[in-house]
């Protein structure tokens, strides 16, 4: 699913990509698309037959995701997949988070967007490495794209990698990228019933960030109701309320990040 391999639609572009080795090199993925129709049959003879395949639609993505997960685990990289509707404040949250943490640890970012490199430019302005993946018509990132992005971005060992997914609460829920956690970002201008409208996404997420709480005095948003809906869909979900703009609540988020990072580092040692 990338132009590097020509393995699929040719809509996706990954910045500065040239290499073509997969970092894990385990799976050989065939790039000979279109040459599948080799076994043409003599006209007139009906060759219809049934083929059982019993294959999960997402099995290919899941294979890449599991390779990515191994890679992250081997290098002690904490990877977070940020998902939300458009405009909930993912990029703002990232730039603010980077400003708080970049002196203490290595951070890199993969930006998924349908068209522009605007977000990656905003991230680079903070001084950390960022790579943009343009998905074209695609409404989510997939694990194969991440695998190629890693070859170029080469996140440092024991670092944090943020993946800003395409703004969409539907498709990214189905595509495992190999991340440690999905983080769903919801802003108080979107309505408290979002978790019920997009249950798959909130079910898949381990953390929900309720952003733009600085706007609560001006909007009609029932925080308690929203939290109840989110817990109803996913009883294990953790919730942090914050404002990327004013900075309120940012310390809870940083606390969650540090705890997750510690978990990722449990069985990692630089020398291994």
């Amino acid at each position: 699913m990338c132009t590097v391999c020509g393995c699929s639609e040719g809509e996706t572009t990954i910045e500065h990509t040239h290499e073509h080795e997969h970092h894990h090199g385990k799976h050989s993925h065939t790039h000979d698309y279109g040459s599948g129709a080799a076994h043409a049959h003599a006209p007139g003879l009906s060759q219809a037959r049934m083929v059982q395949i019993e294959q999960d639609i997402l099995s290919k993505n899941n294979q890449y995701a599991s390779d990515n997960r191994d890679y992250f685990s081997k290098h002690g990289i904490l990877t977070l997949n940020l998902v939300s509707s458009p405009g909930s404040g993912k990029t703002s949250l990232l730039t603010e988070t980077i400003a708080l943490l970049k002196d203490q640890l290595d951070i890199s970012v993969i930006e998924g967007d349908q068209q522009t490199t605007h977000d990656a430019d905003r991230i680079r302005a903070t001084g950390v490495k960022a790579l943009q993946i343009n998905t074209g018509k695609g409404c989510h990132l997939d694990a194969h794209q991440i695998c190629h992005a890693l070859e170029n971005l080469k996140p440092a060992a024991a670092s944090i990698l943020f993946i800003e997914n395409v703004g969409n609460l539907v498709c990214p829920a189905s595509f495992d990228l190999g991340e440690a956690h999905k983080v769903a970002i919801l802003s108080v201008t979107e309505g408290e019933d979002k978790p019920l409208k997009y249950p798959d996404m909130f079910y898949a997420a381990d953390l929900m960030i309720l952003n733009k709480v600085d706007l609560l005095p001006y909007v009609d948003f029932d925080v308690a109701q929203c939290i109840q809906y989110a817990k109803q869909v996913n009883p294990r979900i953790k919730i942090v309320q914050l404002s990327a703009k004013s900075g309120i609540g940012m310390e809870s988020w940083v606390q969650w990040l540090n705890a997750s990072r510690a978990m990722q580092l449990v069985d990692f040692s630089e020398t291994a």
Binding site: G36, A37, A48, M50, Q52, I57, S174
Partner: protein, 110 residues
């Protein structure tokens, strides 16, 4: 949309292993608790299969109902959505055990 593309990818890949050049029917098993809308799937399917080995193929969707194990009732119950409570006892302690799948089951090929 992307799910249809994944389906096509599998069809292309399998055509090399199972030696076929045309797909005339595709059976998908879709769980009611998966994030797939059968109508949206049908809509995308024709568009995505255009110009491929599965052009004009018929899509058959077999829907599988959502099922969960209720810890309180000690039995399997049917649910419509992931956040449903147990229809028998109203409890929340449900473990989903069926209806999440998105699988290609079978093909009719030439």
């Amino acid at each position: 949309m992307s799910l249809c593309e994944s389906v096509l990818e599998i069809l292309e890949q399998q055509s090399r292993q199972q030696h076929y050049s045309k797909v005339s029917r595709v059976w998908l098993e879709i769980g009611a608790l998966s994030s797939v809308e059968p109508d949206a799937m049908r809509f995308c399917f024709d568009a995505v299969m255009q110009g491929s080995l599965a052009e004009n193929a018929r899509l058959e969707i077999v829907t599988v109902r959502g099922q969960a194990w209720c810890l309180q009732c000690n039995k399997n119950v049917l649910i419509e959505q992931r956040y449903d409570t147990c229809p028998a006892c109203g409890g929340f302690q449900l473990q989903v055990n069926d209806g999440e799948q998105m699988r290609i089951k079978e093909l009719e090929v030439e």
